[in-house]
Symmetry: C3
Subunit: 464 residues, 3 copies
């Protein structure tokens, strides 16, 4: 059995002088409240405040990072109990524990160890030997009131968290929350379900969209009006932002006649090659125009080939770790949107990428010029020590710090939220310390920046 | 008010042993003369030797790096006085000073601080509090003889500088200089104005090109002859190099008949899609062939989407920071040129890129094979501590040091030239020190290399 | 004359605490046997055990890294004796020695110095002054029994080495070896010669392929059967793996009818654009299917523009350093193969890339999901200190360590094999030490990992 502990200087540079600067900077923000402006926690957790069940359903099953890596090493999804709530959860946990070495060097390992040590107080590393001890201790903990969602929320020092809901969501949980626990959990408008015309349920979704809003979504004007209605509805449930997950960052700026013609082709079975992409492209621009009117911050998360593994998708559905990034182009594809609203200083569009080649080549130059553009933090596969450092190294010199927006944990793994913010703050402290130690930045400026990155920038960018 | 000072160990690695090696290496080249073989200073400055006006027109207005970042943060170009020489320059300067924090972590900040401290002797950091002190001190300084262009040129230790002029330029300033201040300021032949057929003024420019040279530029042979005439004219004004800024690095090798047919299509209103690109591509190869004859070094700077912001370009023109890099391909696109002249060891073609993915993948392998190819230094957005380190780390192992050509400051910000060369020499010292400290290079070799990188390689590559 | 020595801490981080960890880790694997599961040594060397000739034919002529860099600096291939066994080898060696500074900062320099110091005992650096001393000492050494191939093999601590042979090779040398020196030198099935239909000799090769196997290779079924016959033949000579060098990683999954139609077009002069690519693509999938049956590990090495320099290729043939990488796409191109066999946990496909942008964007996510996929080590131009570090930094956080397969030396430079494995083990130790020093990994885990990376992972992935 090996010891588990969280070293106070973890993730700081090893060189003593730089480490000391990083530690000093980190100490200034270590206990700042957490702002989580983009993520995927379930509002029902906070609305119902029901206890979490057990280690397996809490840590394994919902975490596509963990499932992905176990699957890649030959563990069958059936053996992991995926899709089977009646699976032997302890047996699944033992299997995970026996394979914990697979996560060496990955951020999943860092997040999990943080949760195990900081939330549950474990002092031995997870392994086949400690698997049962972990499973039992976690079960015992989760049964206590202090491990209920709202208690953890407070313990974690979360000031505000945004969940993400589809355009057709009733937001019933947010309504409940507004009544008895207001101001903490807000929603985000993510209308991919009524924008992605390549999905089988698109036409049906548009009918429901019309029914929900009283608009005729078969007309371009009615369809856009329906979005306006739902944006207002989401804003009433606290939303300050929208989120968009198109395949590519393609944008288009259509006239009303072109929009109507496109919608007609999509809804009346006369669709042409590229129409799905064109509709998504047009809607990014329309969403940006609406954001100019209603002041919502807009997020764009493109570039993931969803459900790449066809056989697994057919059998188990999405969220199993088979989304694979691909090369994307922002400079040409964003131009129609930027031609339309790019010079608006009162608009905030936050760009994310899974293709790091864009950091220095396209994204930093774009955000370092257009008033409406900001850069979202290192996303998904890049939400890691090396990934976050690459983001800072490749964007700061062209875009500066003030065209970035702090950290997003972007997670459905609620218990890992403090771990993720801790990691992000430490890596930012490490980067700033390096700038100070090499005389590229003064210490007083780094002290101001570390608080900006941890708290002030996300607050401003997301209007929290 | 915070202190401003230039730390003697700035930009060196923080680890004491590596830092000591870097310092030792840098000391060997700190006072070497500056060779500036590629840049955009105005020859009129040196020809007239008139005093510079004030801080705002000297540091802000011509610097697209600075304007870009201020604009990205919502400052209107009108508020910055862009395009309005009658703007309240002190008010603009105050606005800049109040936003100086935006430049934290950017090379602009490093260059500006160096100028403020080393050229003007400021000991307080620029801020809203010190804005007027800066403005007045700079004004008082610029009025003195020792701040005139030629005095600064000598003070900066510049041995030779190349400006860049279009094919239609009269080079009158260079003629003046040749008479009373010879040998220091040379020109560079940059014929984009008579090669980029996608520009509205192309046909008119070709007429002027013909008139200037006495050649019939409506014929392929006459057009090429006109280039030869102008290349000779530029060489007489000291030019040792040409420079080319095509959209992409596409090259083509046309027969005379194909060239004539293409020129006909372009000049007689029968242009086909891709003809502009094809003409630029063909002319890169023709320029390389001419370079084999006249010995001029050829520079290629591709891959920038110029004036991406259409609205701003319409209102304010170019050079406002709205040029955005995009992904380019050298391995297929350069092949026609390389098939024609790639094996010439007496030809020097210096390749630049804004797409860093090409460093290790294409450019280092190409330059590490073809005798005619050399790699230009980290360019534009990448002319920064991290950018220069990425260049060395990603090119050296395949292309070595001797297929690179030292540093280009590539700037119109004359007063920042010492700052830029200081930074480049320090980063090279840092990189070499790391190689020495990890026993990948012997110290005596690093000592030789640091001087090669700072002085000998540019002298040889540009025949200075 | 400068001293030559191999520093015991070479390639470790300079920071003393990290360096100490790296040293401790490296010491654990320094003397482990060498597994060389992919490379290009000549089996005849070991079969005949004849002495190597001289420094020039041993170190220069076969090494395309060395020839490439010398050629790029203007040295003519004729002056280097390329293609002329009667060239004055001492004169060529002197020329190389006089240009040894060109290799500063390159891995070739590190490998060569290691061979010179560790194999031949030189204590002075190679230079024009020491050229003759080197040439004579090497000649004297090579004449001794302890410098014969088999003696060096034992001295180097090689446990097993794989050579690479084409589908039509008789494997006569391996037959000889099996008789009097069994178990050490195995072959690898590399059938590019009967798969690349864009090569002039394709049709003739298919006839020989049919003759060798007794199959009718003009039929799709017969052609596939011929591969099965040859795979079995290679397995009898120890092969545990196949290797494939397609232009791109394109894959396709054809029906028997589609395969037959394609083969018909290729063999009967009715080939359409893209047929060569389609045939290579289809055969990757067929090879993967056969690997499911016979258990051979499959390697894919795509993305090199072979013989980019047409003039040189015409005059001197391949292997002169004119192969240039280009951008490739794995996420879309591998999908047909992965749709067919991607979920097989009993299949091992090792992916390599020359386009490092794929490490974090595509390859680590793919290998971190699909059970059949593993990542080959940093390849060719990236087989270097910086290149290997980039590989680890950009793949580990998503794919972990256990989806990688240890080191490949991939070389025909037999004497450099210990140098290359030494370098790889040191860089892995450096990377792991950094993880330990920044508290991203525990020391006991790093101790286990360094042995896995050096020995256990290649043994498992290649079934050695």
């Amino acid at each position: 059995v090996s010891a588990l502990s969280l070293h106070p200087d973890r993730f700081f540079p090893a060189e003593p002088a730089v480490q000391a600067i990083a530690r000093e900077l980190f100490t200034r923000v270590e206990t700042l409240p957490i702002l989580s402006p983009h993520g995927h926690t379930d509002p029902r957790w906070f609305a119902s405040d029901a206890p979490f069940e057990d280690a397996t359903s809490l840590f394994l099953w919902p975490d596509h990072y963990v499932i992905r890596l176990l699957y890649s090493q030959g563990l069958a999804l059936e053996a992991l109990g995926i899709g089977d709530p009646n699976a032997d959860r302890r047996a699944v946990w033992r299997l995970f524990a026996a394979n914990y070495h697979l996560f060496r060097g990955t951020p999943s390992r860092l997040w999990l160890d943080h949760v195990f040590a900081a939330v549950f107080g474990f002092t031995d590393r997870l392994s086949d030997e400690t698997a049962d001890h972990y499973f039992d201790t976690i079960a015992a903990g989760l049964a206590k009131p202090e491990f209920r969602p709202r208690a953890l929320f407070k313990r974690f020092g979360i000031e505000k968290i945004a969940t993400t809901e589809g355009a057709l969501d009733t937001l019933a949980d947010h309504d409940l929350l507004a009544r008895d626990w207001p101001g903490r959990v807000i929603t985000t408008y993510r209308p991919d379900d009524v924008i992605d015309a390549d999905k089988a349920e698109f036409a049906a979704n548009l009918e429901r969209f019309g029914a929900l809003t009283g608009e005729n979504t078969a007309t371009w004007a009615g369809y856009l009006a329906a979005h306006r209605v739902r944006r207002a509805f989401f804003r009433q449930r606290g939303a300050t932002a929208t989120d968009h997950g198109p395949v590519t960052p393609a944008t288009a700026n259509l006239s009303a006649a072109e929009g109507q013609a496109l919608l007609d082709r999509l809804l009346r079975g006369r669709r042409e090659a590229g129409d799905g992409e064109l509709f998504r492209a047009a809607m990014l621009t329309e969403m940006a125009k609406m954001a100019c009117d209603d002041g919502m911050t807009m997020q764009i998360h493109p570039g993931s080939f969803r459900n790449h593994n066809a056989a697994l998708f057919g059998k188990f559905g999405p969220h199993l770790g088979a989304d694979i990034p691909f090369a994307v182009n922002y400079v040409q594809q964003l131009k129609p949107l930027l031609d339309a609203v790019g010079n608006r200083a009162d608009l905030t569009i936050i760009l994310f990428t899974l293709d790091e080649t864009n950091y220095a080549r396209e994204l930093a130059p774009l955000a370092g010029h257009y008033p409406c553009l900001k850069l979202g933090p290192a996303w998904w596969f890049h939400d890691s020590p090396e990934g976050m450092l690459r983001f800072r190294r490749q964007t700061t010199e062209t875009a500066g710090f003030y065209n970035t927006v702090g950290f997003n944990d972007d997670t459905r793994a609620f218990l890992s939220i403090p771990a993720r913010h801790d990691l992000a703050r430490r890596v930012d402290a490490a980067y700033l310390a390096e700038l100070v130690a090499t005389h590229r930045l003064d210490l007083d400026e780094a002290q101001e920046l570390i608080a900006d990155l941890a708290y002030n920038l996300p607050k401003a960018a997301y209007k929290l």
